[in-house]
């Protein structure tokens, strides 16, 4: 029960269906990938403990269903969250266009009092790409997103990096992040490794 003392941070994953929200979380949690996850119904929950410096936090991840019909459930989860990760599929222009709507939903519930991350998933699908990296970056900037990344859950590309960046924004680690600045290597996170090489992208 001593675990209860850990600081807990809620992170909600949003976005159109089939952009890979569940895959992203599963890759982070278990470092596995499966192309056939059953569709998420309502909301799924996962929890992971992260270590950084001498501190430990617990991330509570809320994985929402993309389908329209389940939308009425989502606002209450957004309301509770510190971080909103909005995912689109780089091979689906539509999922990118609908980002605006998701961001608006988040701002309605949380105002500016939330960390917004924008993630373009499936960047392994180079032949089918419909959204450029630049467009993604521009959109992230326009909406004041703190984090923007392209990822591939399939290849495991940038996934750990994403969660590391998210952790850095949490009050618990913010100070540590600033003092260490370039110090990605200072992260003593057993789950987050080899990320330095992938850090080349916009940090906004």
């Amino acid at each position: 029960m001593s675990k209860s003392n850990l600081s807990k941070y809620k992170i909600v994953f949003l976005g159109e269906q089939n952009v890979g929200k569940t895959s992203l979380i599963t890759r982070f949690m278990y470092d596995t990938f499966d192309s056939t996850y059953a569709a998420t119904i309502g909301i799924d929950f996962l929890s992971k403990t992260m270590y950084l410096d001498d501190k430990t936090v617990r991330l509570q991840l809320w994985d929402t269903a993309g389908q329209e019909r389940f939308r009425s459930l989502i606002p209450s989860y957004i309301r509770d969250s510190h971080v909103a990760v909005i995912v689109y599929d780089v091979s689906s222009k539509k999922s990118f266009e609908l980002l605006d709507k998701w961001i608006e939903d988040v701002k309605i519930e949380r105002g500016e009092n939330v960390i917004i991350c924008i993630v373009g998933n499936k960047n392994d699908l180079t032949d089918e790409r419909q959204v450029s990296l630049q467009d993604g970056e521009a959109k992230a900037k326009a909406h004041g997103a703190k984090i923007f990344l392209e990822t591939s859950s399939k290849l495991g590309y940038n996934v750990k990096s994403l969660f590391k960046k998210i952790a850095k924004t949490l009050p618990e680690f913010e100070a540590a992040g600033k003092s260490g600045e370039e110090g990605a290597s200072e992260m003593i996170d057993i789950n987050v490794e080899n990320t330095t090489t992938q850090d080349g992208q916009c940090q906004c």
């Binding site: 029960m1 675990k3 269906q17 056939t36 929950f45 996962l46 929890s47 389908q67």
Partner: protein, 519 residues
């Protein structure tokens, strides 16, 4: 007394709790909560209700102990030695599993097992005596019982004879163990035969009902509640769900008409341009419908399900296609498909591409209409804001407060909201928690209940949650959530499902319509 002891031994584990340890563990805990429930109920209604209640329990547990062999007598709530000793009750004891026979090889286990049995029996008594008098159980299928008894009567003499000599051998010779094993095997064989007979007789009784010119649905429902034999399931389901009329004269015509109607519908909707949103939605969900089961990886299966779901969605614009409906489609598909498999391939491995177009059309049409009927009863689960599900979630919450107050308190303290874990239970009818095979067994009962999918299901969910009560009460928020999203049901068999259904039946008979005055 030796004899009694032997009897107890032989039937101890088979006495309905199954060999599965989770079952053994959950029965007493159920009783614990049950007795609590009785106490609570007692405060409200006095003895008038009590008699009915205990009858219900008798029914339920008799079903529970019989598993798929509801032919034998119900579990004896007042276990006097006399009763145990008497031959008809010995034959009435349900299955002795093969696993059991191995245990006989090790005599050192003997006392432990008999202890176990006694313990449980004490529990029965303890609860029965708890302010309740009637010990007679009233099995659901009372009218079928005499018939069943006819078959095994002759057998039973032989069995009780062998039990006698078995007992003597044990007390006399030093070669106890050797004989014990042999005699037990003999006994085992007899038991198995008897079981076979019971199964066959069940199927025959079932067939008798189905062969009547006008099927008496109440009779069929009573039988179906306890599980439908596989070969008779397709027809039974079509009758129970109201797709086919009970009158056999009208059945062929109806089938013909409905199947044609389905084909017309398909031709019509696929002639015009596809409704893109719906089509896309279904298209992405099909490959992720039971992807681990071979049947669902075949092209023919996927195209069939696609057509069924698309037609249904277009014909029901108020809800349209909602994720989870794809899951609900699969039990029908699997059951109806199984009717056409000739070579004995398990349906889950079958490639439906081997069937003729005509046969596949039939399977599809029947699945479509059955799904339509099912969804008619739970329409408000899938319309905007899903009020049906919200209602069910709230009902579950209320129910748990009464059934297991401690658990409900604990969940509240940990800030676990019912909607967080039970939304999916309602939206997918627990299909994400149970295998398709187990779901099919569960639906036998749901189809036999008056409002199986909209009401009885809530009691099943309650039984499902309370099952893990002890574990959950030791956990904090995230562990509770993780546990409930991935409950340990992978190894579940039909028996586990039947226990769950029996427990649900108890909660329903205690709390249905009792909500108002307990609130």
């Amino acid at each position: 007394m030796t004899q009694v002891y032997q009897n107890e031994f032989v039937f101890g584990e088979g006495g309905g709790k199954g060999t599965n340890s989770t079952q053994l563990a959950s029965a007493p805990s159920l009783l614990k909560t049950l007795s609590h429930a009785f106490r609570e109920k007692d405060k409200v209604k006095k003895s008038v209700v009590a008699n009915d209640d205990i009858k219900t329990i008798g029914t339920t547990f008799s079903h529970l102990s019989m598993s798929n062999n509801e032919s034998s007598t119900s579990l004896n709530l007042s276990s006097s030695p006399k009763r145990i000793n008497n031959s008809s009750s010995s034959l009435a004891r349900p299955k002795v599993s093969k696993r059991n026979s191995f245990k006989f090889d090790s005599p050192s286990l003997t006392p432990r097992h008999s202890d176990q049995y006694t313990d449980l029996d004490d529990d029965w008594d303890a609860d029965v005596e708890h302010g309740l008098t009637t010990t007679d159980s009233a099995p659901k299928n009372l009218e079928f019982r005499p018939q069943t008894f006819e078959y095994p009567t002759l057998k039973s003499k032989r069995i009780s004879g062998s039990v006698d000599s078995f007992a003597k051998v044990k007390s006399n010779t030093p070669l106890d163990d050797y004989y014990e094993v042999n005699k037990t095997k003999e006994l085992e064989a007899a038991k198995e035969k008897e079981e076979m007979i019971a199964v066959v007789s069940k199927i025959n009784r079932y067939k008798k009902i189905l062969n009547e010119q006008t099927i008496e649905l109440p009779k069929l429902k009573k039988m179906a509640w306890n599980g439908i034999p596989e070969e008779l399931r397709p027809l039974s389901w079509q009758l129970l769900i109201g797709y086919l009329p009970p009158n056999s004269n009208r059945r062929d015509l109806q089938l013909q008409r409905k199947r044609q109607e389905y084909l017309n519908g398909i031709n019509q909707v696929f002639a015009s341009a596809k409704e893109q949103t719906t089509w896309h939605q279904i298209e992405i969900d099909i490959p992720r419908t039971n992807p681990k089961i071979k049947l669902y990886t075949y092209e023919t299966t996927q195209r069939s399900l696609e057509r069924i779901l698309y037609l249904w969605a277009l014909r029901h614009p108020a809800s349209g296609y909602v994720q989870g409906i794809n899951d609900l489609c699969t039990p029908f598909f699997q059951v109806y498909l199984s009717d056409y498999i000739k070579d004995g391939t398990a349906v889950e491995n079958f490639n439906p591409g081997e069937l003729t177009k005509q046969e596949m059309n039939n399977v599809e049409a029947d699945t479509y209409w059955s799904l339509t009927k099912l969804l008619e009863g739970i329409q408000d689960n899938y319309i905007h804001a899903q009020p049906g599900i919200i209602r069910q979630v709230n009902e579950l919450k209320d129910l748990i407060k009464r059934i297991d107050f401690d658990l409900s308190q604990h969940l509240e303290t940990e800030n676990v909201e019912f909607i967080q874990f039970s939304f999916r239970w309602m939206n997918c009818m627990l299909m994400r928690e149970l295998s398709v095979k187990n779901t099919i067994r569960m639906w036998d009962t749901y189809l036999a209940e008056p409002n199986g999918f909209s009401e009885f299901h809530i009691y099943v969910c309650a039984a499902f949650l309370v099952k893990w009560s002890d574990e959950l009460k030791k956990m904090e928020f995230q562990d509770i959530m993780m546990f409930l999203q991935n409950p340990p049901t992978k190894g579940w068999t039909e028996k586990d499902v039947e226990l769950l259904l029996s427990e649900a039946f108890i909660w329903q008979s205690l709390y249905k319509n009792a909500a108002a005055h307990l609130r």
